[in-house]
């Protein structure tokens, strides 16, 4: 007998929670406990009194699994609401990355040129290295990192996705 894998689709979920101790462990642990995937997770409080946080999770799963994930999140006591942004239609996803590249000569010039194309800013430089700050959707950052690999990529730090529905309404 062999284990079979199922085709999965990507969903971006916005989860608004009460900012209580252990909330992140509660959410992340639910994913682990039930065998769901977390591709990216970001969290920060979003109200003036720091009482409410917004968690953005990118996950993969078959449609039935996504429905289950939302239902399971929704029944956690401190969860205000869960929105499947992917299901809602057009939405914006942004991620920031710091990308360190080391090299000299042509590699160094090419790295700068590519950074300009991707609107990445130089936030640190030495005679033999740059740190770029690049913002965009995850695919753009993937692509930028892929190009940097050719010209001396040293390390990458990514924030994970923050996302929001388009239009005037709150999701």
């Amino acid at each position: 007998m062999h284990i079979k894998e199922q085709a999965a689709e990507r969903h971006t979920l916005s989860i608004v929670v009460d900012n209580e101790a252990g909330i992140l462990a509660r959410i992340a642990g639910m994913f682990t406990a039930r065998g769901y995937n977390i591709a990216s997770l970001t969290v920060a409080d979003i109200t003036e009194d720091h009482g409410v946080s917004r968690i953005t999770i990118v996950t993969y799963g078959v449609p039935e699994m996504i429905d289950q994930i939302i239902a399971q999140l929704d029944r956690l006591v401190p969860v205000h609401r869960v929105t499947d942004l992917s299901d809602l239609g057009p939405h914006i996803e942004r991620e920031m990355a710091l990308v360190k590249v080391a090299g000299t000569g042509d590699h160094r010039i090419e790295a700068l040129r590519l950074a300009e194309v991707y609107r990445a800013r130089v936030v640190d430089s030495t005679i033999a290295s740059f740190v770029f700050e690049v913002t965009g959707n995850p695919e753009k950052i993937d692509k930028f990192c892929e190009l940097m690999r050719e010209v001396g990529l040293v390390e990458v730090a990514r924030t994970g996705v923050a996302a929001m529905a388009r239009g005037r309404e709150a999701a």
């Binding site: 642990g29 639910m30 929704d74 029944r75 006591v77 401190p78």
Partner: protein, 583 residues
Amino acid sequence: MTTERSGADILVQALTDLGVEVVFGYPGGAVLPIYDAIFKQAKIRHILVRQEGGAAHAAEGYARSTGKPGVVLVTSGPGATNVVTGLADALMDSIPLVVITGQVPTQLIGTDAFQEADTVGITRHCTKHNYLVKDPASLGAIVHEAFHIATSGRPGPVVIDLPKDVQIAAATYRKPEGPLQHKTYRPQVKAEAAAIEAAVEMLAAAERPILYTGGGIINAGPYASTLLRELQALTGAPVTSTLMGLGAFPASDDAWLGMLGMHGTYEANMAMNKADLILCLGARFDDRVTGRLDAFSPESRKIHVDIDRSSINKNVRVDLPVVADVGSALADMLAVWKARGHEKADLGEWWRRIEGWRARQSLAFPASDHEIMPQKAIQRIWEMTKDKDPIVTTEVGQHQMWAAQHFHFQDPNRWLTSGGLGTMGYGLPAAIGAQVGNPDRLVIGLSGDASVLMNIQEMSTAAQYRLPIKIFILNNMYMGMVRQWQELIYASRYSESYSEALPDFVKLAESFGWTGLRIEQPGDLDGGIEAMLSAPGPVMVDCRVAQLANCFPMIPSGAAHTDMILHAEEVVGEATDEAKALV
């Protein structure tokens, strides 16, 4: 102006204000202030168990039999880790528990202090919710909130972890006024009107309907069972139930098909398979019920009433989800059914088919004149006690399934068993909790020789409080269900399933101050049961039963409802890898 009092006093006052009468617990260093507060009051009775796991199951038995939340008080570290199985059990079976665990003082948390464990971390995923209280000023509100969460919506266990310094520190406490409005937790109790109307129309139009009921009906309270009976009478539909739902519908009724699922009756499973409409009321399409999913009830439209949205479409896709308390939904459905003047449909053809399946007598078992058949023992206990309306608890395994098949219940809250988690060691402490909550009722614990040993220390608890529970052990000297699976799936290679070195249960009983009885011959069965019932105080019966009896009917793991094994002769010796991989 309210005066300040210690966290321990706030806790005890809040429990008193919430109407708590009994706490099951075990003291220790990190809860000494609370035990001192308990010592100084007279309203809450404390039942001292012999291991914290016993406290959790006793509280479950108390909760399930009384409809009130069970309350547990244990110390930090091992006290808390010992209740984890009970928490997981209560979460799976939706039993309302509030468990208070002591914790090391706040400033020692995280230092690997003596008897420190990360209780909120460990219990996060086996509770409905949990709290670490860092300030006595918030304690009162948290206790009230914990009871609200444990008992409302889909009930479940809630843990309050209480550091020792918070038990000592002082704050004011005021009893909250009016019903609690939680800022995020708002379970949907009332169904949407459109969903109820659609459900009624589907039910009225069905030619082969079946009511598939579960533990949710028990949790919704006795009125839900009454409404279920009314709906059945109006529709004429057959009724089956999960293990957890037994008693919601009277087993003496002609419309009762018995339990469904892996060890359910042939007629219940065939009716599920051939139905054109399944109305699921407070059940959750568990794998023990559905069998092979792609063959589960292929011709039916399905309505699922559940208070937990995540139960809907989890295992089986349904046509009409109804998120609601099942009692409320039943009341709404009855009102719509009557308002629209629906008549009982002619289900004659459907019932003729069901009678055909019934005629197979799937619960029949071979008779024996030289050994006691375990099914026969259960049957006789039922026949000899049914007029006393007993509360029955079980452990987990063959005896549990035989009890579900051969002990017949008329009303809810009489049947206490570990369904979802399947916890061996549940039954004896659950019987203790049930007897504490129902001091004048007959409480019978049906057990197996292996299961009963898992929390055998609780015999001492029953002795201390002279709780007259009757523990009846079907002793086949095997972990019977493990042995049965090894026989059916692993060509009778009985790996580690023999109960080696069993104690002399009669002497064991006597050593705890119980009455111990042994039944060995079929002719002595009735006399033995009679002696058990007439002996005062707690009784343990060691009933030697046929060692190799198997529990049938049975749907093997991964098989369809139509592939039921009715008798031992149909069994093959070794299963495929795919079948072996299923639970």
